[in-house]
């Protein structure tokens, strides 16, 4: 009997997020390594409308669990819906995005399926082992599941987004997750139209070296010019120069962009833990000896007040109009 790999596509505000496409490519790698089929389950009030998109990205079979209550971001309802498919299909590995809702769903799935859990997985190794960072990013662990079923959350931006592939089958499943003791009241969207940090391909972050909130104007200008999200160090957030939502690091968000530009950030270990797996790190700082300048791929020593506008101008000159996100 097959023990498929199951991708849990927990929608975000009624849509599939790019993180789900990353799960599909990671799931395909795992499925091929373990010689198992790759299935997905979409738990949503619009599941049957969302499922074909996944089926067209190389998933062998997509289960659309559709119920009105699955329109709300309530973890136990989505977990019950996904667990019903995982159990019925004898899934051996269950992949969930490491988003706030995804983590909550994964925890419930682990208990419902009596499955070990590996969080924030960044790599799938041969033989089904997975790799994740721990000890605040100072170490990486190779994790093996001891239970027949393993649940894992995948760190955003760690796997490529699955593109069009073999077209799989869509199966509609009738399932009523019942009532929850958690009621969704409302959602207030972040007002700014800035790029989300966790899913950003480029991030420009500012730190204590900016000297004040006005320094973030230069950071934002550069970010806009290259279609980047705006990040910050804890020091800048604690000083009240920018909201907590932008904080990169252990107490904030973990990011893995292709390009990370750190401006006036000395590089406390807590900050490094949140961004050290970025593709290319550019550090701009007055202190060439600070930890971030030591670990960066490209360093520029100097005053950000002069450097940032010069860099932004140069980019605009070379690339023409600002690049879209």
């Amino acid at each position: 009997m097959a023990n498929p790999i199951l991708v849990v596509a927990v929608p975000s505000r009624g849509k599939l997020s790019p993180a789900v496409y990353e799960l599909v490519s990671a799931g395909r790698k795992l499925a091929d390594s373990l010689k198992q089929p790759l299935y997905a389950v979409v738990t949503s009030d619009k599941a049957s409308a969302l499922a074909p998109d996944l089926a067209a990205r190389g998933v062998d079979k997509v289960f659309a669990v559709e119920h009105a209550s699955l329109g709300a971001p309530v973890d136990d309802l989505h977990a019950k819906a996904a667990a019903s498919v995982a159990t019925k299909e004898n899934a051996s590995r269950v992949l969930v995005p490491a988003t706030v809702l995804g983590k909550a769903v994964a925890a419930r799935l682990a208990v419902l399926l009596k499955a070990g859990l590996a969080a924030d997985v960044t790599e799938i190794l041969d033989g089904g082992l997975v790799r994740r960072a721990y000890f605040s990013g100072n170490l990486v662990a190779e994790v093996e599941f001891k239970t027949p079923v393993g649940v894992m959350t995948l760190a955003p931006m760690s796997f490529p987004r699955a593109e069009a592939g073999n077209k799989g089958e869509v199966v509609t499943v009738a399932f009523d997750p019942g009532a929850s003791k958690c009621a969704f009241v409302s959602f207030a969207a972040e007002e700014s139209n800035e790029v989300d940090l966790g899913a950003a391909e480029r991030v420009v972050s500012g730190g204590r070296g900016l000297g004040g909130p006005e320094g973030f104007k230069h950071v934002r200008d550069l970010a806009h010019a290259i279609g980047a999200a705006v990040g910050a160090s804890r020091a800048a957030v604690d000083a009240g120069w920018i909201p907590y939502r932008h904080q990169v690091g252990l107490t904030g968000r973990a990011v893995r962009p292709k390009l990370y530009v750190a401006v006036g950030i000395s590089g406390q270990i807590q900050h490094l833990a949140g961004m050290s797996s970025s593709g290319t790190i550019v550090a701009i700082n007055t202190d060439p000896a600070c930890p971030l300048m030591q670990m960066a791929n490209v360093t520029v020593t100097g005053d950000y007040n002069e450097l940032l506008p010069a860099i932004t101008d140069e980019i605009k000159k070379r690339k023409g109009s600002p690049v879209a996100a």
Binding site: T99, G116, D120, F135, S136, E144, A183, V298, E306, E314
Partner: protein, 268 residues
Amino acid sequence: MALHIVVCVKSTPSNVNVPVDPATGQPKTAGVPPTLNPYDEFAIEEAVRLKERVPGSTATAVTVGGEAAAEVLREAVARGVDGGVLVSGAEFEGGDGFATSLALSSAVKKLHAEKPVSLVLFGKNTSDGGSGMVGAETAAWLDWPSAIGVKKIDAVDDASATVSRMMEDGVDSLKLALPAVVGTIKEINEPRLPSLKGKMAAKKAVFPKWGAAELGLQAGQVGAAGAGAKVVKAATPPARPAGVKVEGASSAEKAKKLVDILIERKLI
């Protein structure tokens, strides 16, 4: 109305920049002094603030760990929590989040039977294991509603708590029926330092110690035997190659050279 708040805390190494022990392939933490997991300070502070908000409420700290983990309970009392429980014994050694959350949920159930629990609070994650999943897994074992990533407890009464959960794209408001589990984030408060009165209380505090038997669990359900996953091997992340220094006589020249590199590497 009075609340009973449980706050789950962990004793973690005070320095997590540790080497790998070549003999075991595991992190070498022996000799590193333990401390309260820094993210738990926010959960403890929130428990104390809830006590201040709802007079007559009590807060109990719970930890799973060795004998030395009693020190983090003491730290919680110093910060204003009323008492603590040490879940300890050889059977808990080597547990992962799956096994530890089962132990914590059993301790919460036992406390709940003694005095009904309203809320169970957790820090965002730990500085060592760092999964950030133990709070949500504890809620799952208890089959209680929960929210992680909570930046504010907006309202609480006998029957429910309304919380603000920070999401990737904004803020969700959720109403949790009590008892419930809440995972905090840094934005929820600014932890205060222990008071003199708290330190005095901490000195005198005595904590009951519960093993698997007291929790109604089999030894095989907790610790390494009950773990759902194990670290086969730890390693230090690969070192990054030495960086390129962008130099120039003026900011404009440095900017031009940097943009050259970014374009050449197809980063912008």
